[in-house]
C-alpha cells in the first residue's frame, strides 16, 4: 500500500503525476496499490475531480478531509510518499519521504533524478528486504493542517 500525499495547487506535487503513473504501471501486477491522498482543506471533491481529470490521473484517489492519513503516515509535505505493509490487521509504515531526489530544495532541481527512493523502497518491501530510507527531505508544499 503506497500513499502519495498531494495538493492540487502544488506545482512540485503536480510535476510528479507522470512518475507516479510510471510506478503504478511497474508495480501494479505485483499487488502494490498506489493511492493519491489529498489532505488539504481546500481540496474538495470537485476541485480534485477536476484536477485528476486535467492530469489524467487513473490511480485511485482519496480525500483525507480529517487528515487521519496524514497523522497515520506522519507526513508534512506534498508530494510525500508513505509505504505500508500489512500483516493481518496490523499496518506498518516501512518508508516515508520523497519520491526521488529530483528536487534538492525549492528552486534547486536536478535535470533528472538520480536516486529513485520510493521505487527502491517498494522493491525492497516486496522482496522482504530491509527498506532503504529516504536520502533527503521531501521538497514541495507544506500540508495545510486543520485548525484544532
Amino acid at each position: 500500500m503506497v500513499l502519495i500525499f498531494a495538493a492540487s495547487d502544488c506545482p512540485i506535487s503536480n510535476r510528479y503525476v507522470p512518475e507516479i503513473a510510471r510506478l503504478n504501471r511497474e508495480f501494479t501486477k505485483q499487488g502494490v496499490r498506489i493511492w493519491w491522498v489529498f489532505p488539504n482543506p481546500e481540496d474538495n471533491s470537485s476541485t480534485v475531480a477536476e484536477h485528476n481529470h486535467a492530469f489524467a490521473i487513473t490511480e485511485p484517489t482519496v480525500l483525507d478531509t480529517r487528515q487521519y492519513l496524514v497523522h497515520l503516515a506522519h507526513v508534512t509535505t506534498t508530494p510525500e510518499a508513505a509505504v505500508f505493509t500489512s500483516n493481518g490487521d496490523v499496518l506498518r509504515e516501512v518508508y516515508r519521504g520523497r519520491i526521488d531526489d529530483r528536487y534538492f530544495s525549492i528552486g534547486q532541481e536536478r535535470p533528472q533524478p538520480q536516486q529513485h527512493d520510493l521505487e527502491a523502497a517498494i522493491s525492497a518491501a516486496l522482496a522482504d528486504k530491509p527498506v532503504p530510507q529516504s536520502g533527503g527531505p521531501p521538497v514541495g508544499c507544506s500540508i495545510v493542517y486543520l485548525q484544532k
Partner: protein
C-alpha cells in the same frame, strides 16, 4: 473521507474503505497529534540584524500584502506566469511557509546578480527588511490583521498589456509539451508576413501557457536561414537550446535583447531605439519549457507595436566568449575560462546577458577603464539557467575607448552540482544542446561621441570583436568573414581582400564570400577582377536565383559604374529574378533616369520604396526622376525623406539646395548648402554653388568668400574663377 466519482475503480474504492476501517481501529498507529506548524529556528533569524526593525507582530493587512503585491503578484495572479495566486489573505496564508523558505533562500523573487556589482533597472531582489518581515509573519502564524487597512490588490488584465498590437504573429502549429520528463528547449519560427519594413517600438510575447515557460528569447533571422535549413519540420518547431542564424551578407548590426521572462511580458524599447523587421525576415522564438505534470498545449503569439520613426540610435550586441576553451574534465568543480577585449571606441553599455548552461556557477563581467579603475558590470555567484535573464542598467554605463572588457566564468562539473545533467559527471565541451556548455557574456552597446560624417563606429567595434574571436579560433569562418566585411565596410579594402581570400580558401564556392571579395576588389580599384568574382559567384549559385541576387546586383552596379552598356540588361535580369530587391530596383531606376526613360524609372523607384521605405538612395533617385519631369514639389518631398533617413549625407543636402533654389526658396537653399558643406567641407563645387546662391540674394561679400573658398580647395575651378571675376566687375 470522500469518494471521488469517475476516478476510482470500484475495486479500488472498496479497498480504500477497508483500509480506513483498519486504520481507525489500529492500535499500532493510533491518532497522532498534528505536527507542529512552527518552522524550525533558523540561525539567520530576525533579531540578529540590528539594521532590520520589524513591527512587533506583522500582519498581512498592514505589512505583508504590500510586499507581495509589489514583488510577487506580477507573476502570481490568476492566469499569470506563476503557479499560484498571491492576491488574497487566504492565498498568502496557504503559501506562507513556502514564502518564507523561498525568500530566505532568495530563490524568489528571481534575481541572480549580486547587489553592488552593476546598477540595474527593475531589480527584483527583496530587501532584508521584507524578508525578515515575511519570516516573522509566518513564525507568528500568519495573522490577517485588520482587513480594512489592507492595500487594494493590483488589477491584471488578461488582454495585451499595451492594447491591441499592430501585428500579431502566431506559432502555426501549436506544440504539446508532455507532462513528464526533463526540460525542453524548442524554437518556433514566426515568419514576418508583411511586404514592407516596419520599426518595432515594443513587443509582447504571450506564450499561451505561461506557467510552463521559464524564459523565451527572440532572434531575428534576417535571411530566413533556419526555415531553409529545416524545410520540412520548421512549422512544428526545432529543438535545441542555442541556434545560430545566418545574418546575411550586409553589415546590419542593429540588435536588441528580445528576452521574455515571466515578470516582463512587454518589452518596450528606449526612445529612439526601435528595431526593424524587413520583408522575408523570421522571428525565432526560443523557449525553455518545463513540464507541469500534465500535457500542455503551447500556442504562443507575439504582438508587435510599430512606430513610423526609424531608429535615431542603433545599438549593437557584442560578446565576450570562451566556448573554444570549454573542455571541462569530469568531476572538476573549479574550471575557469576568461576572455577580454579592448574597446576601440567610446560606448554606452545598456544591458548585459550572461549565458551558460547547467554547469556554470560563478560568472563575472567587469571593465578596466583607461585610468586603471575596475568597474563591475555583473557578478552572479550562483548561476541558475532556469532563472537566466537580460539585465538592463539603470543608467547607461559609459566605457571610454581603451577600456578592457573582461569575463571570468567558473564551472562546476562535479556531482555536487545538483544541476549537473550527467551522473556520474562526464567530460563536457561547448555545444548547443542543454547538456553541452557555453561561455558567453553579451552586452548591448551604443557607440557614443561619434563625429558627424565619421564611418559607422560599429564597424570598428565589429573588427575588434572579430579579431578577438580569431585569436581564440583562428579558422572560424564566421569570424573570418565578419572581419573581412567589417574592414570592407570601413573602406579598408586592401586589408579586406586577403581576409576574404583566407575565408574563401576554406569554402571556395561560397557565393557570399565570392560576392564580398568582388566588392572588396572593386573598392580597391581592381574592378575587372571584381567582375570576374561576381561572375563566379553567379555561377556558384547555379539555379538558386535568390542567392544569385547579390552578385548580380553587384555585377550590374559595377558595369554601370564603369559605363558598360550591359549594365541595364544585367539589372533587368536581376529584378526579374529578385523582384523584392529594393536596391536592384533603385539601380535599374537610376539607369532609366540616365536613359531618359523617366516613366519606367518612377515606376521602379516607387516599387523600391514600397518594399523598403527607409532606402534613402531610392528616395534620392526618385527625386531626380521627378526633377526630370519638372515636378519640383514631389522632388522636394522625396529629398526631404532622404535627408531624414540620412541626415549626415552631404550630397542629399546639396541636391535639396539645388531643388529649393529652382523653386525660388533661395534662403532655404543657402541653409541646406551650408549644412552640406558642414558635412563635407572640402567640396569646391559646393562652395561655388553656395556663392552663386548668395550672389543671387545680394549677399555679395559672403558670395566672394564662398568663391574664394572654392578656389583655395581647387585653384583651377573654372566656374568659381569666372563667378569671382564676374562679381568683381559688378562691384
Amino acid at each position: 473521507m470522500k469518494r471521488i466519482r469517475s476516478i476510482s475503480a470500484v475495486a479500488g474504492l472498496a479497498a480504500c474503505i477497508f483500509f480506513l476501517n483498519n486504520l481507525r481501529e489500529s492500535t499500532v498507529y493510533g491518532a497522532n497529534p498534528a505536527p507542529k506548524q512552527e518552522p524550525a529556528a533558523d540561525s539567520s533569524s530576525v533579531g540578529r540584524r540590528a539594521t532590520v526593525r520589524l513591527p512587533s507582530v506583522p500582519t498581512w493587512s498592514r505589512d505583508v500584502a504590500s510586499i507581495l503585491y509589489k514583488n510577487c503578484a506580477t507573476c502570481h495572479h490568476p492566469g499569470g506566469a506563476g503557479p499560484f495566486s498571491l492576491l488574497t489573505y487566504t492565498d498568502a496564508k496557504r503559501w506562507g511557509p513556502q514564502l518564507m523558505v523561498v525568500t530566505q533562500s532568495r530563490f524568489m523573487p528571481p534575481w541572480l546578480p549580486e547587489p553592488g556589482y552593476g546598477d540595474f533597472a527593475d531589480v527584483r531582489r527583496l530587501s532584508d527588511h521584507d524578508r525578515a518581515l515575511i519570516k516573522q509573519w509566518v513564525v507568528d502564524k500568519m495573522p490577517q490583521g485588520d482587513p480594512a487597512i489592507a492595500p487594494a490588490p493590483p488589477h491584471y488584465d488578461a488582454n495585451w498589456l499595451m492594447g491591441k498590437p499592430d501585428l500579431i504573429l502566431k506559432v502555426s502549429h501549436p506544440f504539446t509539451l508532455a507532462g513528464g520528463g526533463g526540460d525542453v528547449f524548442r524554437n518556433f519560427i514566426l515568419p514576418y508576413p508583411l511586404t514592407q519594413t516596419h520599426y518595432i517600438r515594443a513587443m509582447e510575447i504571450r506564450p499561451g501557457t505561461p506557467q510552463i515557460v521559464h524564459h523565451a528569447n527572440i532572434t531575428i533571422d534576417r535571411t530566413a536561414s533556419l526555415r531553409r535549413q529545416f524545410p520540412n519540420d520548421w512549422q512544428s518547431g526545432i529543438s535545441g537550446m542555442d541556434l545560430m542564424v545566418d545574418a546575411g551578407s550586409r553589415f546590419d548590426p542593429d540588435s536588441h535583447f528580445l528576452f521574455w521572462k515571466p515578470d516582463t511580458p512587454a518589452l518596450i524599447e528606449p526612445a529612439g531605439m526601435p528595431w526593424r523587421l524587413d520583408p522575408g525576415n523570421d522571428l525565432i522564438l526560443n523557449m525553455h519549457l518545463k513540464p507541469s505534470g500534465k500535457a500542455e498545449t503551447l500556442d504562443a503569439e507575439v504582438g508587435l507595436y510599430f512606430t513610423p520613426n526609424p531608429p535615431a540610435k542603433q545599438p549593437m550586441l557584442i560578446s565576450l566568449d570562451r566556448d573554444d576553451a570549454l573542455d571541462i574534465p569530469a568531476g572538476d568543480a573549479n574550471f575557469v575560462v576568461e576572455d577580454s577585449m579592448t574597446l576601440p571606441v567610446d560606448l554606452d553599455v545598456l544591458g548585459v546577458y550572461p549565458h551558460a548552461h547547467y554547469l556554470g556557477r560563478d560568472m563575472q563581467g567587469w571593465a578596466i577603464l583607461p585610468d586603471g579603475k575596475k568597474k563591475w558590470l555583473i557578478w552572479i555567484r550562483n548561476w541558475d539557467i532556469d532563472r537566466q535573464a537580460v539585465y538592463r542598467y539603470k543608467e547607461p554605463v559609459l566605457l571610454p575607448k581603451g577600456t578592457v572588457l573582461h569575463m571570468r566564468y567558473l564551472y562546476d562539473n562535479s556531482s555536487a552540482n545538483v544541476h549537473n545533467p550527467h551522473t556520474p559527471p562526464v567530460r563536457v565541451r561547448a555545444g548547443n544542446r542543454s547538456e553541452d556548455e557555453m561561455a558567453h557574456l553579451w552586452f548591448q552597446v551604443l557607440p557614443v561621441n561619434v563625429q558627424p560624417g565619421a564611418p559607422d563606429p560599429r564597424l570598428l567595434l565589429e573588427e575588434t570583436w572579430m579579431r578577438n574571436r580569431l585569436t581564440k579560433t583562428p579558422n572560424d569562418q564566421v569570424s573570418l568573414y565578419n572581419l573581412a566585411a567589417a574592414l570592407a565596410g570601413q573602406g579598408k579594402f586592401t586589408e579586406a581582400v586577403p581576409a576574404f581570400v583566407k575565408e574563401l580558401n576554406q569554402s571556395p564556392h561560397d557565393v557570399r564570400t565570392l560576392t564580398a571579395l568582388g566588392a572588396a576588389l572593386e573598392g580597391a580599384g581592381s574592378w575587372q577582377q571584381a567582375q570576374q568574382r561576381f561572375r563566379s559567384a553567379i555561377e556558384a549559385a547555379g539555379t538558386d536565383d535568390s542567392s544569385a541576387c547579390d552578385p548580380r546586383f553587384d555585377l550590374a552596379s559595377s558595369e554601370f559604374r564603369h559605363g558598360q552598356p550591359e549594365a541595364a540588361e544585367e539589372f533587368r535580369t536581376e529584378v526579374a529574378a529578385c523582384p523584392n530587391d529594393a536596391e536592384a530596383l533603385t539601380g535599374l531606376g537610376q539607369i532609366e533616369i540616365e536613359a531618359n526613360q523617366t516613366t519606367q524609372a518612377v515606376q521602379h523607384l516607387t516599387a523600391a520604396i514600397r518594399i523598403n521605405p527607409s532606402l534613402a538612395e531610392a528616395h534620392e533617385q526618385l527625386a531626380r526622376a521627378y526633377g526630370q519631369l519638372g515636378d519640383l514639389q514631389s522632388a522636394l518631398a522625396e529629398l526631404e525623406k532622404a535627408a531624414e533617413l540620412k541626415p549626415d549625407d552631404a550630397t542629399i543636402h546639396s541636391s535639396l539646395s539645388q531643388v529649393l533654389a529652382a523653386t525660388g526658396s533661395l534662403q532655404q537653399a543657402i541653409d541646406e548648402q551650408r549644412t552640406a558643406l558642414k558635412l563635407l567641407e572640402d567640396d569646391a563645387d559646393g562652395w561655388n554653388n553656395l556663392g552663386v546662391l548668395e550672389a543671387r540674394t545680394g549677399q555679395l561679400p559672403a558670395a566672394r568668400d564662398a568663391f574664394q573658398h572654392a578656389l583655395r580647395l581647387d585653384p583651377e575651378h573654372p566656374q568659381a574663377k569666372s563667378n569671382l571675376a564676374r562679381l568683381q566687375t559688378q562691384n
